[in-house]
């Protein structure tokens, strides 16, 4: 479903973030991307949401070269991909319901759809009782689950999680990962970028190790965090 072909990415400051990456990810996989900071994990994810385009090579989703998308197609691509970040990226002046609803509103969804879907997705992530709470009234784990709810609202085919446990303690981290595994079981492809060794080892799925913009190891099954 996702394929990177000889991808090179060089940032404006001449930093080579990706150095000839070849990678294929099948639909329904759970992939852990590991490696030290600056290894190119986030760059790999940003290419997929078309925030950047590669300097060389191709990034394809369902056989379509993402570089060929027009400006008006990019929002449609992003609706197919849910994203989760270390810093949650929630709107502090909106409550849980409004934060998730916002994702539907800016895509022009009708009011009835918003009112029906948002409570459902909040109960999937276990926040049914926090529907009216604001981010500052929630724990770190709850905030991240809210972010996941928002990522799920478009029923995406892919979830990209960039260091989702970076700001969480162990218990909350495991909760979030369990939720991601549950989402994966329902058929969504999950790509988890992290340098949390315990988490990766507990997941036990495909693990791709990166270093200096290159893939140095690809353990297809029962992968472990090895650097």
């Amino acid at each position: 479903m996702i394929s990177y072909k000889k991808v090179y990415t060089i940032y404006d400051d001449d930093f080579m973030a990706l150095n000839g990456v070849n990678l294929d990810i099948k639909a329904g996989e759970f992939v852990s991307l590991v490696g030290p900071s600056g290894a190119g994990k986030s760059t790999l994810l940003r290419l997929l949401t078309r925030e950047i385009t590669p300097n060389e090579g191709e990034v394809c989703l369902d056989g379509i070269n993402l570089a060929s998308l027009s400006a008006s197609d990019i929002p449609l691509l992003r609706r197919k991909i849910g994203t989760i970040f270390q810093d949650f990226k929630l709107l502090s002046n909106k409550n849980a319901f409004e934060n998730v609803a916002f994702a539907l509103e800016v895509c022009g969804a009708p009011l009835e759809e918003i009112e029906a879907d948002v409570p459902k997705v909040l109960s999937i992530v276990g926040l049914a009782k926090k529907i009216n709470s604001f981010p500052h009234q929630m724990s770190g784990g709850e905030k991240q689950r809210l972010a996941i709810a928002r990522a799920l609202i478009h029923r995406p085919k892919i979830i990209l999680a960039d260091e989702p446990t970076g700001n969480l303690d162990m218990v909350n981290s495991y909760d979030v990962v369990k939720l991601l595994l549950k989402i994966n079981e329902l058929g969504t492809t999950v790509i988890l970028a992290t340098h949390n060794r315990e988490i990766v080892n507990s997941v036990g799925r495909r693990v791709i190790s990166m270093e200096k913009g290159k893939i140095v190891r690809d353990q297809v099954e029962e992968g472990k965090y090895i650097i």
Binding site: P75, K89, L91, E105, V106, C107
Partner: protein, 302 residues
């Protein structure tokens, strides 16, 4: 679609409200531009009035030598009547001229005495010609100059008025040119200030914009609220301008009328109220939206 428009409008309105101090600045500068623009319209109206009132007073008068017979003068008159640009010709005989002169200076003993001293009527017969259009006077004069009875004509009185007209036109043209330049300069400043306000809004909402992009918000949904915000500055500026402009016109209109009896400023702006209000609104909204569009292009990556 309706739902989307409602959301965009609401988001734009919120931006406008939250930016209260900055909004105040942008609206203020836009108000100045619109007031200048309105003043320019008023000046234009007044100068047109001045020019037409002077033009109404212009005529060409051909004074005939004393030896010209009434018959000959009538032939000149007939020749002139054939011209389409001639609106009206008035013949003033020597006797009439003397009569008028006497009654004009009825109280002046010296003049009356001097006239009594004279054996003969010293005044000349004349033809007073009005043209349909002020620009036609030159051709009427040329015609008179080339007429076969030219030798009977003593002098043709026209050139002095022409100078007055061209001076008034020159002054009003100058005022208008400078007015346009000033309005343009102010408009540029207004665009810059509004542009900066929108830029700050965009900067303040970096996080919201990032999230909108992240969740696949359409480009239109991300950009349009800022255009609405820019447009709102224009609408508010137009409203403030009208609130200031009409009372001011109402107050100064009688004073202007003392100087120029046929220039009814308040009447002009009341009878053309719809066009004027529409124009101020359109100019205001255009300035706001254009500034916003520049800021979006420059700072809002989608």
């Amino acid at each position: 679609m309706k739902e989307s428009l409602k959301r965009i409008w609401k988001a734009g309105w919120l931006n406008f409200q939250r930016n209260s101090y900055l909004s105040f600045g942008s609206t203020g500068v836009l108000v100045l531009v619109l007031l200048l623009f309105s003043a320019l319209m008023a000046i234009n109206f007044l100068s047109v009035k001045i020019v037409t009132s002077i033009q109404e007073k212009i005529d060409v008068t051909a004074y005939f030598k004393v030896e010209a017979s009434e018959d000959e003068i009538m032939r000149v008159r007939e020749d002139l009547t054939d011209h389409s640009e001639v609106k009206n010709i008035e013949y003033i005989s020597r006797d009439q001229a003397l009569e008028e002169f006497r009654s004009l200076h009825a109280g002046d003993v010296l003049i009356q005495d001097s006239l009594a001293e004279l054996d003969e009527n010293p005044l000349q017969a004349s033809l007073n010609i009005k043209a349909t259009d002020p620009s036609e006077y030159a051709s009427i004069v040329t015609f008179l100059e080339g007429n076969k009875f030219r030798t009977l004509i003593d002098k043709i009185n026209f050139y002095e008025n022409e100078q007055v007209i061209s001076r008034v036109q020159g002054i009003s043209g100058g005022i208008q040119n400078w007015g346009v330049i000033l309005t343009m300069a102010m408009a540029l400043i207004a665009v810059l200030v509004t542009f900066n306000t929108i830029r700050l809004t965009i900067y303040n909402q970096k996080q919201e914009i990032e999230i909108m992009r992240l969740v696949g918000g359409s480009n239109w949904h991300i950009r349009a609220p800022y255009l609405v915000e820019g447009g709102l500055y224009g609408i508010f500026a137009a409203a403030v301008t009208l609130i200031i402009f009409y009372p001011v016109v109402y107050l100064i209109s009688p004073k202007v009328e003392v100087l120029m009896p046929n220039a009814n400023l308040i009447g002009y702006f009341s009878s053309n109220a719809l066009q004027y209000i529409g124009m101020v609104l359109i100019v205001g909204v255009m300035l706001g939206v254009v500034s916003s569009a520049i800021a979006i292009r420059r700072f809002l990556k989608v």
